[in-house]
């Protein structure tokens, strides 16, 4: 006799968040949200830095690594000690679209952290000695990164999908980094790290209006608009044969597929989001249940929708044992073809709808999670409303919508792919399944 699984009880509503926002005279948009919980504040400053200049990836990477090495009379360790004394942390990262200054601090020390951020934005040092140290470290880290099969695969897929567009470059080339000087980094900071078009998100145990005032005061001296150049539009990514990148001795093959998707503001987005979950976007997906839980080919396949400012992509990644590379590709294509050509079921949609709503709530239930989500949304002109209204959009999305999105975006003929592995062992079995390229 089996015991029935308990039913869900009536859901309880989340508390309303209080938010304040303001665009400062400098053009900086500031969003502050009160979210008590722990006595901390999270900070995310997002500065658009997209550029098509060939020297850009190396310079912005080095800028990012050297940004916190001194400012306004504080040397590197002095700046770090000042942040630490506030119970705070600051870090800088970049991708093709933006530079992000992220941090957190004891909430009572938020004004002091904002002052330190202001000094980095307005009076960074970029001392030649520190830039040289960071240049060497960046070169070493690039060497390490490019020894990883996942990095090799995503660089190869990026070139396939983006071609000559700046989005194709995730990591700079070592020669370009080695040739970058402190003066070039200083000039790039002066040109690009400007408030007009940037967004600052603050979330924490704070009063939103008071936080806006603190930002206005601390960042009053940060002014100006970035010097922007033209960036080409995205072109449709070609499908083409599966590209095999040889990594001799690999005991696993890294398969990556990519294709076009739609941004969060598109009416088809909720349906595509649900189709992706059904395919490979969560553990109970078809792809996982097939090649992991049934066949044991992998520790786990994942598919996801990546959002960039200029467009979104559907991405698939999986590492499979070398000896089952071809069978894993076969099953992957089978699942892609199945979801693209046969309707999904009501129970599949009901499950992923609830999963999408529940995990959106979980992902924005922490100060850090909410701040990162709001910052990413701000980069494409969306805000807290998008998060609050999304459950209703998901609820209104039905089986037909999801099946249509799956048919449009998951067709294997529309996807481009690479596989990094031991070519001697995988090339022939893969060629038996269709066109491959070396």
């Amino acid at each position: 006799m089996t015991t029935p699984v308990p039913e869900l009880t009536k859901p309880r509503k989340a508390r309303k968040l209080s938010l304040a926002e303001r665009t400062l005279d400098s053009g900086l948009r500031v969003v502050a949200v009160r979210k008590p919980g722990v006595p901390l504040a999270e900070v995310r400053l997002r500065v658009p830095t997209l550029s098509a200049r060939p020297t850009h990836p190396a310079r912005i990477s080095l800028l990012s690594d050297a940004m916190l090495t001194g400012a306004a009379g504080l040397d590197r360790s002095g700046l770090a000690a000042s942040v630490q004394a506030l119970g705070g942390d600051l870090s800088v990262s970049v991708d093709a679209d933006r530079l992000l200054v992220g941090g957190n601090v004891l909430a009572t020390n938020l004004p002091a952290l904002l002052q330190l951020i202001a000094s980095v934005l307005i009076e960074p040092t970029y001392a030649a000695r520190e830039v040289a140290t960071e240049r060497d470290r960046l070169l070493e880290r690039l060497t390490i990164a490019r020894s990883r099969p996942g990095v090799i695969a995503s660089e190869a897929l990026g070139l396939r999908i983006w071609g000559r567009h700046p989005y194709a470059v995730d990591l700079p080339q070592p020669e370009a980094v080695a040739a970058t000087t402190a003066a070039q980094v200083r000039r790039l900071h002066d040109e690009l790290i400007r408030p007009d078009g940037a967004t600052l998100v603050i979330v924490g145990d704070l009063s939103p209006n008071r936080a806006l005032g603190q930002v206005e005061k601390a960042l009053a001296g940060w002014t100006g608009a970035p010097l922007t150049g033209r960036v080409p539009a995205l072109s449709a990514s070609p499908a083409g044969p599966l590209l095999i990148v040889d990594r001799p001795g690999s005991v696993q093959s890294s398969l990556r597929l990519g294709g076009e998707a739609v941004p969060r503001s598109d009416p088809r987005y909720p349906a595509l989001q649900l189709a992706n979950l059904i395919f490979g976007g969560y553990f109970s997906s078809r792809w996982t249940e097939n090649i992991r839980e049934d066949k044991g080919y992998t520790y786990g396949p994942h598919s996801r929708i990546d959002h960039h400012v200029l467009g979104s992509t559907l991405m698939f990644d999986v590492e499979v044992a070398t000896e089952v590379t071809a069978p894993a590709v076969l099953e992957t294509r089978y699942e892609l073809g199945r979801i693209a050509s046969l309707p999904v079921t009501e129970s599949e949609v009901a499950a992923v709808r609830q999963y999408a709503i529940g995990t959106l709530a979980l992902g924005t239930a922490t100060q850090a999670g909410l701040a990162s989500n709001l910052s990413a949304l701000a980069g494409v002109g969306l805000g807290l409303d998008w998060i609050l209204e999304h459950p209703a959009r998901l609820t209104a999305t039905g089986v037909d919508d999801v099946s249509a999105a799956a048919a449009e975006f998951f067709a294997p003929a529309r996807l481009t792919g690479v596989v990094v592995g031991d070519a001697e062992r995988i090339a022939e079995p893969l060629a038996a399944l269709g066109d491959v390229e070396r």
């Binding site: 869900l8 009880t9 859901p11 004891l106 044991g296 520790y299 590492e319 529940g358 995990t359």
Partner: protein
């Protein structure tokens, strides 16, 4: 003594905790917090990698996988589907001294989550087919995290073999393929019967819950599970080394050498004050650009790309009983630098032991550490896991709230004393030889 200003500045979290023990010995910790409609559920079993028998390396982790393969009332795949279609997420992980299973759920799925955990505590479905499938999955997990990755498993898999002597402490907890392949259904059933008794587990539930009602649900679902003997846990402690040990580890894929320097440290539970001093020492050494080793090895001597000092073999200082370890790792570009790196580390430790800390150094490091500890508690799932872990390892869930106060009581003298124990003749040095260097 810390200044009174510091103590006043350090915020401390406060939690409502309710504890209860069922007749079958299951210890229960409830932490109600109704600020958001989410709950965390965690079950920790008092068995980890250190308890697996010789010839069965990796068995505790393989068994963790089997706990997801169906149970008394659930077919294979149903556990995942019930959690995710309720809007929740799940996982499990195997540690040196315990194994955890957990969910984060919307609070209307609380009873369902309790049922799912109780069902597998009652009886997991361990079959030949599930074992064969999860053996393949685990082998692929090891390939992706260790065998096909530069620096894979470094140093957590390889350093214990140099640092410790007993099988329990020194063996590879991920497991050798031969050992994994020889595991049988009978082994798994024995392991379950011996270690997965209610009396050998802690259940923690935190978040949006009503205490009395939740205790009733727990009694209803977990109460009927038959009482079994709690296994006796041996003492795994090993005294400090009395002579330096050095070994080399070949990594064919790594492009640059690395080193791990390990020291045995005493019982974290019985010697918590000393353990907290050791934790603050780790932060003084490597937290941020103002830390001792960053300044010395990265910024001044340019010997390493990065360096990190941490307490606890998995990087969590409160994750294991006696013995624990203090580890310093570094990646560096020139293989000939090893002796210079070791000499610099010794010099910096000696400087702390002899001269003590700079004015303000302890205060800022401690303020940051308290901030980090509180930040981790913002997520309901992390809170749940921390309460369960502190109950299991320390016998005191409420220690979570006391840590800031305990850290505030650590004196500079205690940190000097901690530094003085990390002598060259007490260390194990594992040099990673980069086979992928060009």
């Amino acid at each position: 003594m810390p200044s009174s200003a510091t103590l006043a500045k350090l915020p401390a979290p406060s939690f409502e905790l309710v504890q209860h023990t069922l007749d079958n010995g299951l210890r229960v910790v409830l932490a109600p917090d109704r600020s958001a409609p989410v709950v965390g559920i965690a079950v920790l079993y008092d068995v980890g990698m250190r308890s697996e028998p010789e010839g069965r390396t990796g068995f505790a982790h393989l068994f963790e996988h089997l706990m997801f393969q169906g149970s008394a009332n659930l077919e294979k795949l149903e556990h995942f589907r019930y959690v995710q279609s309720s809007g929740g997420m799940f996982n499990g992980s195997t540690h040196l001294d315990y194994t955890n299973y957990f969910e984060a759920l919307p609070s209307n799925a609380l009873e369902r989550g309790l049922f799912l955990e109780a069902d597998r505590m009652l009886s997991p479905r361990i079959t030949e087919e599930n074992l064969a499938n999860q053996l393949d999955v685990v082998k692929n997990e090891i390939r992706v995290n260790v065998l096909n990755r530069p620096y894979g498993g470094f140093p957590w898999i390889y350093l214990p073999a140099v640092l410790f002597d007993s099988f329990a402490n020194s063996h590879n907890g991920y497991g050798g393929f031969e050992d994994l392949e020889s595991a049988s259904v009978g082994d798994a059933k024995d392991f379950f019967n011996r270690y997965y008794a209610p009396a050998n587990a802690v259940l923690a539930v935190a978040g949006d819950l009503a205490v009395d009602e939740t205790l009733e649900l727990i009694e209803h679902h977990f109460g009927p599970i038959t009482k079994r003997r709690k296994p006796r846990r041996p003492n795994f402690g090993e005294p400090p080394l009395d002579g330096e040990r050095r070994e080399r580890h070949d990594d064919a894929q790594a492009p640059m050498p690395a080193v791990a320097i390990g020291y045995r440290v005493g019982d974290p539970v019985r010697g918590l004050s000393g353990h907290l001093a050791m934790l603050l020492l780790a932060e003084v050494l490597s937290d941020g650009d103002a830390s001792r080793l960053q300044q010395r090895l990265v910024q001044r001597d340019h010997l390493v790309t990065d360096v990190s000092a941490y307490l606890g073999e998995f990087g969590d200082p409160f994750d294991e009983r006696d013995p624990s370890a203090f580890t310093i790792t570094a990646h560096y570009p020139d293989a000939r630098s090893l002796d210079a790196i070791l000499a610099a580390v010794d010099e910096e430790l000696d400087r702390i032991a002899t001269d003590g800390l700079e004015p303000g150094e302890l205060d800022r490091v401690r303020t940051r550490l308290v901030s980090v500890l509180m930040r981790e508690l913002d997520s309901v799932l992390n809170r749940t896991l921390e309460f369960a872990k502190f109950e299991l390892i320390y016998g005191r869930a409420d220690l979570v709230a006391e840590l800031p106060g305990r850290l505030a009581a650590v004196s500079e003298g205690a940190i000097r004393k901690a530094a003085a124990t990390l002598r060259p003749d007490r260390r194990a040095v594992l040099e990673l030889v980069a086979g992928g260097a060009q």
